[in-house]
């Protein structure tokens, strides 16, 4: 009853092309944004902001980045964490070495550096497909981390490559409380998601999906494979780089190359798979799921072990976590390879008909 589209006609292609063509969706998004901008800062605890919402937004962004490359363009990448590292370290160096540079410019340049590294490792991708490409991205992952650790210039000569992000000032106003950091991250993430949605529904996005679905056919209808793939690598790495920047500057504060390990790349890949390949909403869902899962397990496993009178050690909990992760990946791939986003879509379809069964 609520979610009816009846009466909503589109009389121009422009309105048909809107991001949220259904009125209820538009209202819903405005409400969510209002809550995010106004209600949350007022009511959420510092812990919620620092440890849950900010990483949630940052990882949604990284997931979107990987989704561009793997989900839309079909190029499997296992190196997303390395691009996050490039973004973080590049932004740090710009802030450090250019006196008085506005931090937003440093952030942007950090993303650009990540994009350039992405292009460099994406260049071989025209001849290399599928798993081979995954190995190429592994090369990026290991090589980049090694460089950042060994060439001490990147970390201003600190031991083992640790860097501490500089404090941020917007027009003289310091950004150092959980609330201000949260709002900054929110603003950047929302902006980048809007841009991402634009890219994905344009000819660029369609070219990516064509290359993913059948690259021979894409070539035949005139889509330049190399250029399309490189743009995917560039934009994907830019987004991961931006996520890395925010990760360092607005979340952890202090990072080192080892913090951007292969494990993190896999985590982001799981977020893409579970959230939904080729979906914008899926990035949020996947990130939320993977971030909340360890917390949920940490809370419930001790309870279950007490109920069953089976003592569980800390390491067992982490092992169970691995098993649950693995089983969930397999489960999603079997049951709904298009992830939570598709489940959401199915739910919306049912909502359209509710309360009538058909």
């Amino acid at each position: 009853m609520l979610y009816r589209e009846a009466g909503q006609y589109k009389v121009s292609y422009q309105s048909d092309n809107q991001i949220f063509p259904i009125l209820q969706d538009r209202i819903g998004i405005l409400i969510i944004l209002a809550i995010a901008v106004f209600a949350i800062p007022m009511f959420a605890s510092e812990y919620m902001l620092n440890a849950i919402l900010v990483p949630f937004l940052i990882f949604s962004l990284a997931t979107l980045g990987l989704n561009f490359l793997t989900g839309y363009a079909g190029q499997l990448s296992l190196g997303s964490a390395a691009f996050m590292a490039v973004g973080a370290f590049a932004a740090y160096n710009f802030q450090l070495r250019i006196e008085g540079i506005p931090f937003l410019i440093s952030f942007f340049l950090g993303g650009v550096c990540a994009a350039m590294v992405g292009i460099a490792f994406g260049l071989p991708s025209l001849r290399i497909k599928g798993f081979y490409l995954a190995v190429a991205t592994l090369a990026a992952q290991f090589f980049v981390l090694w460089c950042l650790t060994k060439f001490s210039w990147f970390s201003n000569n600190s031991a083992s490559g640790v860097i501490s992000a500089q404090p941020l000032f917007l027009f003289g106003f310091p950004i150092n409380t959980p609330t201000t950091k949260y709002l900054l991250v929110l603003a950047i993430v929302v902006f980048l998601f809007w841009i991402g949605k634009n890219i994905v529904r344009s000819s660029t996005g369609r070219s990516w999906m064509a290359v993913r679905d059948m690259d021979v056919a894409a070539e035949v209808i005139g889509i330049p494979l190399m250029k399309t793939k490189l743009i995917a690598f560039a934009i994907s790495s830019f987004y991961c780089g931006m996520a890395g920047v925010l990760y360092a500057f607005c979340y952890l504060g202090t990072v080192e190359p080892d913090g951007f390990s292969l494990e993190l790349s896999f985590k982001i890949l799981f977020m893409v798979i579970i959230g939904g390949v080729g979906s914008i909403l899926g990035n949020f869902l996947g990130a939320a799921f993977i971030l909340l899962l360890p917390i949920v397990l940490d809370l419930t496993l001790p309870v279950i072990s007490q109920m069953l009178n089976l003592p569980i050690s800390g390491s067992t909990v982490s092992h169970i976590q691995l098993m649950v992760f693995g089983a969930l990946i397999i489960f999603f791939l079997i049951v709904e390879p298009h992830g939570l986003a598709r489940l959401w879509q199915i739910g919306k379809e049912k909502l359209r008909l509710w309360p009538f069964p058909h």
């Binding site: 121009s12 292609y13 422009q14 092309n17 841009i195 634009n198 890219i199 344009s202 000819s203 660029t204 996005g205 369609r206 070219s207 999906m209 064509a210 993913r212 679905d213 059948m214 021979v216 056919a217 894409a218 070539e219 035949v220 209808i221 005139g222 889509i223 330049p224 494979l225 743009i231 934009i235 080729g278």
Partner: protein
């Protein structure tokens, strides 16, 4: 009536894959605005022929003349930009996208916004999208597939998928259209519809068509001229009615000991 120009001329084309000779010394031409059919038993090399015209395969020997100019070795992307479009024997649609998006990809060679302009959904990008959407809707109207434009292609029946593939090829506004068994697997009604569309495309929009088809009735009805291939060699070339009386063609189809 003035002599129609030759759009495509193939001379002594030979193509092999390793030890397998797919095409041997094939020569024929295609005149502008005509419907040229390529027929022959299975494995005769018809699809390979189309792939050569399209730039997917590169013949080891022979020359291709496109609009009276020698055509250098080119890849399919360049062929597309020169106005050659095609459909495939086994449908090559993008299964992850809707019908509308699939057809829009056909407009790719006409769309020039780069990704930055797309990202900001800035004026020129938005206008270009709407302009091309309009063109695509014309094709959708023409092929009568309005009702399925938002359906993911994977969910459509085979016949409709073939029609969408034709739409995608037409959206590129080609001057030369290559159709690889566009009517395979269709029932009589669907075939009649497809014939109608092909004829309209040829007569109304003046598109030159090279067609691979097995249904002799269709070939007889709609082709202007026919090329017959067998075992990678050309065994007939001319008007449909004449070829039906050609003993080589008859034996190729009915089968004799080779």
């Amino acid at each position: 009536m003035s002599e129609a120009k030759t759009v495509l001329r193939l001379e002594n084309i030979s193509l092999s894959f390793g030890g397998v000779k797919a095409l041997t010394n094939i020569s024929f031409d295609v005149k502008e605005h005509e419907i040229r059919s390529i027929i022959g038993p299975n494995g005769a090399g018809k699809s390979s022929m189309l792939n050569v015209i399209n730039g997917v395969y590169h013949p080891q020997q022979g020359t291709i003349y496109f609009r009276d100019k020698v055509r250098q070795k080119m890849d399919p992307t360049q062929a597309a930009r020169q106005g050659i479009a095609r459909t495939f024997q086994n449908i090559a649609l993008f299964k992850g996208m809707t019908v509308l998006d699939n057809i829009m990809t056909g407009r790719n060679t006409k769309m020039h916004s780069n990704f930055l302009m797309n990202a900001l959904w800035w004026g020129p990008a938005r206008n270009e999208e709407i302009l091309n959407r309009r063109k695509v809707e014309e094709v959708i109207d023409f092929l009568e597939i309005q009702h399925i434009r938002k359906t993911p292609v994977g969910k459509l029946s085979y016949g409709l998928q073939k029609r969408v593939e034709l739409a995608r090829a037409l959206a590129a506004e080609p001057s030369l259209l290559l159709l690889d068994e566009p009517m395979a697997g269709m029932n009589v009604e669907e075939k009649q519809d497809m014939c109608r569309f092909i004829l309209e495309v040829n007569q109304q929009y003046g598109v030159t068509i090279v067609l691979i088809e097995h249904d002799m009735g269709v070939v007889m009805d709609i082709s202007d001229r026919v090329v017959v291939l067998d075992y990678g060699k050309k065994i007939g070339d001319g008007l449909p009615a004449d070829l039906m009386k050609n003993p080589d063609v008859i034996s190729a189809y009915l089968g004799t000991n080779h």
